[in-house]
Structure formats: C-alpha cells, structure tokens
C-alpha cells in the first residue's frame, strides 16, 4: 500500500466534505447550535412552567365531609374551591350509607403481581360512582382535582381520595400539591390528638423516615449524561458519516467518477483506505464537536441552576477516546454497504437501516437495568455505550473496559476488511451485482491464508468462544471439550476444507527436526516462570483466580489426573496451536517476523478474555510465535504450550508441588526462579533460531 496515494485520496475526500454544506451542517452546526438551543431552551421553558404552575390557582372540588381545617388549608395553599359543586345528591346518600367504599391501597412494588393488581384496582375504580361523577368535571376542566372525604372518620382514620387526570399537566401538579396539603393536615391532626391525650409530640407517628441521595454530583450528572450521550453521539456522528459514505460510494458510482479512479494506477485497498480515513475523520470531528457542545451546554445549565460543573474535561476526553473504535466501525460499515447501492438514493435507502441498527443498541442503554455483562460487552455499539455510562459514574471494571475495547477494535477491523473486500469486487464498483460466495471468495481454490482471512477467522472464533462459554451450566469437562474442539479446532478445519487449502502446508504440520522440538520443551518448561514476572505487575482479582482454577479442574477430585492433563494441557496445546500459530500466524507470515509474531501473540492474549491474563499469555505467545517462525512447524509450539499448561495445572493439583506452594506460602513465583526461567527460555529461543531449517525444500 502506498501511503502517499492514500493521503491524496483522503485529502480530496476531506476537501469535498468541507465544501459540502449538508455534511458540515450535520457535523458542526447541529451539535454547536442544537444542544444549547434545545437543552438550555427546554430547561428554561420547564423552569418557567414550574413557576407558573406554582403561582397558578388550582381548582378543587370537595365532596363528602371535608373538615373546615382541611378546606382552609387548601385555600391557604392557592386552591380555589369550585363553588356550587357540593356532593352530588345520589353520591351523598351512597357515601352516608357506606355503600361506596374507599379505594383499597395500591400493592407494594416488590409484590410480584403488582402490575396485575394495579390494573385490576384501576378497573374497579373506573366503575366506582365517585370516579364516574368526577371524571367529566376534571376532563372538561371545571376542576383540576376532586377531593373526596368519606364521612365518619373524624374521630378515627379519615379516608380521603384525590382524583385527577394523569394526562393533563395542570391536573397532575394540582394532585401533588393537594396531596401535600392533605399530608400537612394529617400532621396537624396527629399533633392535636397527641395534645388532647397528653402524649409526647411524635408519639402517634412512631417513626419519621427520611431518604437522602448519597451519590455525589459527579456521579448523578455522570449517570444522566452517560445515559443520553452515547445515543446522541451515534445519532449525530452516524448522520455526519452517513452522507459522506453515501456520496463517496453510491454517489461516485452514479456520477461515474469512481471509474476514473479505477482506471488510474491506484489499488483498491488504497481507495478504500483513503475513503475510510476521510469518513472516520469527519465522524470523529462530529463526535468531538458533539462532546464539546454537550459539555459546554451542561456546564451552562448546571451553573445557571447553581450546581457545580458536572463532568471534568478529562472525563469528556475519556469518552471521546472510547468512541473512536465504534466510530471506525460505523465508518467502515457505511463504506462497505454504500458500495452495494446503484445511486445516491439507493445508497440512502440501504444505509438508513444500517444507521438505525447502529443507533438502536445505544438507545437500549437508556433503559433501566441494562448493565455490562458477558453478552453486552461483546455487542457492537451497545458495549461502548454502556462503557461510557459506567465510566462516567465511576463503575467501569478493568475487564469490561478491556473486553469492550478489544471487541470494538475487532468489529471495526472486520468491517474495514469487509469494505476492502467489497472494493475489490469490480462487479459492485461498476454498478453490477455480486454474490456472497463471490464477495467472500468461497468455493474458490486458494493457495494460502491471507492476513485478512486469518483475522476474520480469529473474530469468528472469538464469537464462537463467547457462545461456547455461555454453556457454563454443563459439566466443566464437556465445556472444555466443546470450547477446544468445537469452538477453536472445528472452525479451523472447516475453513481449510471449505477453501480447499492444502492442510499440511496451511497448518504447518511438518516435522521440524529434533532441536526445534528441544527448543519447544525448554520454552514450555520456562513459560510459567517468565510470565509470572508480569503477573506481579497486574495481579488478578480473587474471582478470576478462582475461575482459572475451575478451568484447570483444581476442585474436581472426582476427575483423574490424566483427564485433567488431557483437557487443560494437551487439548489447548493441539487446538490452540493449530489455530493461533498454524492458521493465524501462518496467515500473517507475509507481514514479516516481527509483525506476524507480535500480532498473533496479541490475539492469543486477547482471546483469553481478561486484561489480567492477556500480558502473561501474550508473553508465552511471543515465545511460541518465535519457535513457529523459525521452525516453520506447529509441533514445537504444541510441546511448549502443553507443557506450560501442564506445569500450571500441576502447581495447583499435583500433591508434592501444591504442598510445596502451600507450605512456603508462595503467592508469586520467586524472582530467582523467574530469572532461571528467563535463561532457560532464552536458550530455547536461541536453539530455535540456530537450528532453523535452511534449505528451500525444508520450507513450507
């Protein structure tokens, strides 16, 4: 790829965008003007409405036997008692004779049938003569509320009902105020009764309950902003990237300008990279403008309301950084889908559902109870939206941050690979159609695995692992078998056979000679000692340690050692090595020694699903990757991997080793052991380099 060409395409796309009023409007004008106008305007409008409502004289109708004190209290609190509307005659008689019963209390929230019961009570109340008579008076605005005081309660408990219209704001506010007046009247009544009986103040009430919010202002505002911000960001940035994506793909096809680009000496990957960079930049600028505007608007609102500034600039910066992978994901997705459209209009029709799909998960975060978990941290867009929310309220856990960022970067890379693949399809670029088999190259004879195919399979295996792990209820032995052979090995073999790849060459199933195998042995013996150095830097939490022990079957006294070694050492040695080294690193081979070893080791670390495990596993991956590169065989890595896991299992299960660890209270591997391990590993790596195959025939 020639970066000068990518840069030229990027600059041209950006220049066109900056001259496009429509995109500029969505990118800058909307966020910079809309938020202040919308939020400040709305909050002022709401405050004005509240003030007006408080100042407004509400109209109340009193039925039954209201005490003069209650009526006086209502008048004092800005209620006007509607004249000429005494208790209707038929109702008065019914109330007097006790034929109309007071409404029963509503069920408590914790009642599992609360919703059903509330609905039932509502239906029953709807048939009550009290409601039937009050309804027209409230609906035709003769009154805002009707207060019904059942007779006969002057010396005991008085039953009072406040009837209102939940749809009309005036009626809702009048209801709240009337309830406050009734509460005050109740307090006054209790004091009178205590005084009459010579009781201490508060005797009859017994307990006074008060609730106070302990959440600091930053957490409260973090929750508020965090619930809203991801949705706003996706909405605005999606629309900013949307028009550029449609214009640069379907629009260029419609104007035939794409064919001038295709007949120029430019590679498809350079075109897609330049266009992607432009869309991602525009979207990122839109995100930045959104965040700045939102931050200033919230600052303005909070200071005018006498509150401290809600979020710090550092928090906004953090949100911005987290949004970058999801911005890349949507940009690449828009670009890829846009190519399928015939013209601009078709592009809009195709991309609108895609835009809605990317926005929908962010809207879910506004629902109560949606928290980060194994499923949500892997769901595109939703994971980032939830991460923002948890970051702003200070509840983000390192593992969730890690998995969210890793999966988001993976989704973005997959979308970009898909876009690159689509841009290589001339039939799509010249206005024709294509099949999924054609786009993904299925059923065609290939000679080797490409880096993009290796990465795509890695993402597919990650998804399989995610679903495989959700079978946590089955016996751990079967779960390990499903994960290793079903989720890791099966996709590898499926790909090799589906693409008719040569099995031996693709998976590097080649005897490397004795010395590379010895190198594998040394790396396997020293792996745990070396990787323990980084465990000291980032110590895993208790629950993760227990989870690892569970996977190593430490607590399973009913399982034989042979089974444990087969499941926790031999199987990962075979399945994971065929996948991570044979297929993934083999696919990356054309990227060179450093890139192929580092990338496959990183993916190996990432696949272990935890930020705490990533570093030690990556170190092991680097060493095994080195063995693979030089031996051009998967076998030394299998030896090293199985031995490393076997030693780890032994320290937890084999009696002499476990007893030694317990006896010496070893929390970490002693430093001198790690130093010795470093020497052994370095020797193994040197042997692998020294005894690498040299003849062309030895190479795959």
């Amino acid at each position: 790829m020639r970066w000068n060409i990518v840069l030229s395409i990027f600059r041209k796309e950006l220049k066109e965008t900056l001259r496009d009023k429509r995109t500029l409007t969505f990118m800058l004008a909307l966020p910079l003007l809309l938020y202040p106008m919308m939020m400040i305007g709305l909050s002022r409008f709401q405050r004005d409405m509240e003030k007006e409502s408080t100042a407004r004289t509400a109209k109340v109708i009193l039925w039954g036997e209201p005490a003069p004190a209650l009526e006086a209290a209502l008048r004092q609190n800005n209620f006007a008692v509607v004249p000429g509307h005494g208790t209707p005659a038929p109702l008065a008689a019914e109330l007097e004779q006790g034929r109309v019963r007071p409404f029963p209390s509503l069920p408590r929230e914790e009642d599992k049938d609360a919703d059903k019961k509330v609905e039932q009570l509502r239906e029953e109340a709807g048939r009550s003569p009290v409601v039937l008579l009050a309804r027209p008076l409230i609906l035709d605005r003769t009154a805002d509320v009707v207060l019904v005081v059942w007779p006969g309660g002057a010396s005991a408990q008085q039953e009072i009902a406040v009837l209102f219209d939940s749809v009309r704001q005036d009626s809702q506010r009048a209801r709240r105020r009337a309830q406050n007046v009734v509460d005050d009247y109740r307090e006054q009544l209790l004091r009178q009764r205590e005084q009459q009986r010579g009781l201490d103040a508060g005797f009859t009430r017994g307990v006074r309950q008060q609730a106070r919010d302990v959440a600091p202002p930053s957490r409260r505002s973090g929750f508020g902003i965090g619930s809203m911000l991801p949705f706003l960001r996706l909405a605005i940035s999606a629309t900013a990237g949307f028009y550029r994506a449609v214009d640069t793909t379907a629009g260029e096809k419609e104007r035939n300008t794409l064919q001038t680009l295709l007949c120029a000496p430019v590679r498809a990957v350079e075109i897609v990279s330049g266009k992607f960079a432009a869309i991602a930049t525009i979207t990122t600028i839109a995100v930045g403008a959104n965040i700045i505007s939102l931050g200033m608007t919230f600052g303005n609102i909070s200071s005018s309301a006498g509150m401290s500034m809600a979020l710090t600039p550092a928090q906004y910066l953090m949100v911005f950084a987290v949004l970058i992978p999801v911005t890349m994901f949507t940009s690449a997705l828009f670009l890829a889908v846009g190519v399928f459209a015939k013209d601009f209009k078709d592009g809009q029709n195709m991309l609108t559902p895609v835009m809605m799909l990317t926005m929908m998960p962010a809207a879910i975060t506004m629902l109560p109870g949606v928290e980060p978990n194994a499923l949500t941290v892997m769901t595109p867009c939703l994971n980032v939206a939830l991460l923002i929310k948890t970051l702003l309220v200070g509840e983000a856990r390192p593992d969730h941050i890690f998995l969210t960022l890793v999966s988001s970067v993976a989704y973005a890379t997959l979308a970009l690979l898909f876009a690159a693949r689509v841009f290589e399809r001339e039939s799509l670029l010249t206005g024709g159609k294509d099949t999924a088999r054609g786009i993904f190259g299925l059923g065609t004879d290939r000679k080797e695995v490409t880096p993009s195919l290796a990465f795509a399979l890695f993402c597919a295996v990650m998804a399989m692992l995610f679903y495989g792990n959700s079978l946590s209820k089955i016996d751990i032995r079967y779960l390990l078998l499903v994960i290793q052979y079903g989720c890791i090995l099966a996709p590898v073999l499926l790909l090799v056979f589906a693409l008719r790849l040569p099995v031996r060459e693709t998976l590097a199933l080649r005897w490397p000679g004795l010395m590379p195998m010895v190198a594998g042995l040394l790396v396997g013996l020293s792996g745990l000692l070396v990787s323990s150095l980084v465990i000291r830097l980032l110590e895993p939490p208790e629950d993760l340690t227990k989870a690892i022990q569970k996977v190593m079957l430490v607590d399973r006294t009913d399982v034989s050692m042979w089974w444990i070694f087969f499941l926790a050492a031999v199987s990962p040695g075979i399945c994971e090595e065929l996948f991570f080294r044979g297929l993934v690193q083999g696919g990356f081979r054309k990227l060179g020694l450093a890139a192929s070893v580092v990338l496959s080791a990183l993916l190996f670390g990432v696949a272990h699903g935890s930020v705490y495990r990533m570093l030690p596993v990556t170190i092991l991956g680097l060493a095994i990757g080195w063995l693979f590169w030089h031996s051009r065989s998967v076998y030394p890595g299998m030896i090293a991997h199985a031995l490393n896991n076997g030693i780890a299992v032994s320290t937890m299960t084999a009696t002499p080793l476990r007893d030694y660890v317990l006896e010496h209270k070893l929390r970490h591997v002693p430093l001198e052991w790690s130093a010795a391990g470093l020497v052994v590993m370095a020797t193994g790596l040197w042997i692998a380099w020294r005894f690498r195959p040299r003849t062309a025939e030895d190479h795959l």
Binding site: E16, R255, T260, L261, A264, P265, V266, R267, E426
Partner: protein, 241 residues
Amino acid sequence: MQSDLRCVGLRKQFGAVKAVDDVSFHVSPGEVVGLLGPNGAGKTTVLRMLSGILTPDAGQVLACGYDMKEDPLAAKRQIGFLSGDTQLYQRLTPRELLHYFAELYELPKAAAQARTTELISSLDMASFADRPCDTLSAGQKQRSNIARAFLHDPKVLILDEPTTALDILSGRFIVNAIREQRDLGKAVLFSTHIMSEAEYLCDRIVMIHQGRKTEEGSQSEIIERQSAGNLTDAFLRAIGE
C-alpha cells in the same frame, strides 16, 4: 518498448450473458482506431477491460507491452481513459482535479504544475479552471475531463463516446484535440455511434456486434468488403441489418 494497445481473445460474461466473446485487435502509435457497434454490442465492456476497470474472464490486454493482469499499475500509467458520461468531482475546481490526479499518477510536483498550466492553456480552460465543477457547462466539463485523461501524457488514449451530449462547437473541439494527440504519436481507440465522426477521425475501424468482432480494417477496405456505398451502409450490413 512498444507504444501501442493490444488485446487478444478478450471474453467477458455477466451471469448468463456473453457481453464480449473472443475479441482481438490492436491500435498502433499515431493511429486512431474507431470501435463501432450498435447499443449493447459490448463496446463499453471492451473499453473498460482495456482500461483496467473490468477484468476479462479470458484473454490478454497489453498497454505498451505491460500486461494489465500481471502489472496493472504500470499498464494503467500508459492509458488515458475518457468516457462521455463521466462527470467530475462537483466541489473541486478543474485545477484541483488535475492536481489530484497528478498525485494519483505520482507525477513530480513541478512537472504536475507545469503540465496543468500547459493543459489549461492548450484546452482553453483558463476562464473556468478555478470555478467549482458543478458550475461548469457540459462542454467545459468535458474539456476538464480531457485534461484529466491527457494529464500524465499517456501513450494510449481510450475514449468512450467522448462527444456524447455535447453541442457542435464542443464536439468539434474534442475531435480536434483527438487528432492532435494522434499527430503526437499516441495510439487512440475511439468509440462512437456518430458515423461522420468516425469517417473524419478514424484510420481504421473495428466493428463489434453481440460481443463479437464482425469487421476490422480501413474505411475503404470495410466499405469494399461489405459492398456498400458508405461507412453507414457498411456498418448496417456488418451487423446484418
């Protein structure tokens, strides 16, 4: 190094439709070859394969000796492609457009600057070179497109109905520009459905019908072979009308 355009056994199929079937011909330096055929004959598909936009299912394209399949970047550098329905980047000016394509063709900056100035002058574009392309007339747009196609001084020019939708003056301007390029020794392949243009411009004619080549030769040779009075009649006879 050869400075011509050759294609051998070109085939292209879209689904069940054979768009181009075993088409071979060549264009020599200093020669204008006209590609004639009725609508849907496969002219545009042939030209797109020759310019590297489409990949043939079979056959070979050689631009100045560079194989389009083996070394597409080098082959594309030899070719200037222009079609009548190609528009411009609406929010760029013609001068910016030329600078952009100069970067894509990796021309040195000074050379690109000099070539842009030269083309703006020779194609009489000075009055609109710095106006956004969406404000230009059809003739001005096509001149800008020609400048883009000529920018890297290609040895081969592939022109797909370049005078479509142009008025007489603009059409003549384009035709004269093509003649000038031929006189400079460029190999020009030119497709048109305007017979008078073909008669005026083309040294040789290749006729295709239903994806297959039906005739090739000079105008007089074709007229004689088809026992026709003029090129239009010869064309009609060649396609069986």
